[in-house]
Symmetry: C2
Subunit: 251 residues, 2 copies
Amino acid sequence: MLTFVGLGLYDAGDISVKGLEAVRASDAVFLEYYTSRLMGTTIEDLVRAYGKEVIVLARADVEQHPEPILDAAAAGDVVVLTGGDPMVSTTHMDLRLRAAARGIPTGIIHGASIQTAVCGLTGLQNYRFGKSCSVPFPQKNWFPLTPYEVVRQNLAADLHTLVYLDIQQDRYMRVGEAIDLLEEMAVRVGGSITTYIGVARAGSVSPVVRAGTADHLRGIDFGGPLHVLIVPATLHPVEQEYLEVFAGLSV
Amino acid sequence: MLTFVGLGLYDAGDISVKGLEAVRASDAVFLEYYTSRLMGTTIEDLVRAYGKEVIVLARADVEQHPEPILDAAAAGDVVVLTGGDPMVSTTHMDLRLRAAARGIPTGIIHGASIQTAVCGLTGLQNYRFGKSCSVPFPQKNWFPLTPYEVVRQNLAADLHTLVYLDIQQDRYMRVGEAIDLLEEMAVRVGGSITTYIGVARAGSVSPVVRAGTADHLRGIDFGGPLHVLIVPATLHPVEQEYLEVFAGLSV
């Protein structure tokens, strides 16, 4: 059997009790660590905390040569660990499809995800979020305006936008960088964003959550990664109060 | 300190390791069980599994007379357990605000949520979801069309819609009932929905996930609660394949 287990948000303790039991009962544990990472732990810590050897997968191990994973899952109980809640990435979906094609039973043990964690951290109500978007690091001759277009469409429908920030190798986009990019996109398109909410290290004991104008947030040290950004629509009274109390939003 | 801990989706094993540690280290544990429930366990099971007495909260205990919770949190370490990921409900936000007003430190330990679990179970990509909606049990002279309007707006923008189904006391809306209601709304508004995806018991070892037309899904026994429904937009190739393999979508 092939079981995908979500590691949750930040460190070795964010896996569910059920997920940890599956890890401990398994014959082999693989770790998919290239589409997302836990910033509050190391692979060595995970191995120690879970009491199991962990085989770290490179992208090619999953996308081009998944046979060793599938062979192990055909012969015994295999767990594939992923950050957050599993299967969000196409690469996991593909692996599950390949397992099914070989007649290997599959299952999912869910984990906490940044997508809902931001609701608790910011007080923004989950049913008021529209489509999410991602801000990539710009490259030479490539500066997509799509992220701002998504924000603008959501704002027009009075919906909040969760903005994922790019991760490349060991480079993690910061709140300030993302704001600079969105502000530049807004200028090019001819729009503007009045309020941002930055969230750093969701799932840790010391997340930083701050709300305000672009200039206000640029002056705040959010600390280490991962960061995400939210562009809120008009705020309901309880959302407003929550952000004033827990994210320093100016009245 | 007042710590909100998410119980995750289905049973006592869906809490995170970190959450369970917080429960065990706490001086008092409260359980908010009126906005959501875990269908795969009982309060007695939770008490046994966590090794702690649990004080079950009624709505009035949180919304009108939260002083005992706050007094305990001012004097020691208090955990408030909630289904899914905490703070999604306004009632939790209000409790955290009251704690802050009394100078009581607060924190959140996240849990898995149906909002992202449906992505793994259905293969629908998380960034392609628009605003979510809820279908309530109709009442005399009250048959809101809003849920269908949300679906229609999302479909127009080629976005999937997660549809939450009503819970009232011990009455849990089923996939078939929700489809009947949405079909009736569509008739009244003059639209139609071609494909539905029903999901039952997310987070359990035997979730049921089925995709197809209204008539097809009406003939399927989804088993016990909780159920949710998704109305998908046009399907990307990998979404289509995933639903064919894991949800019986007809080619």
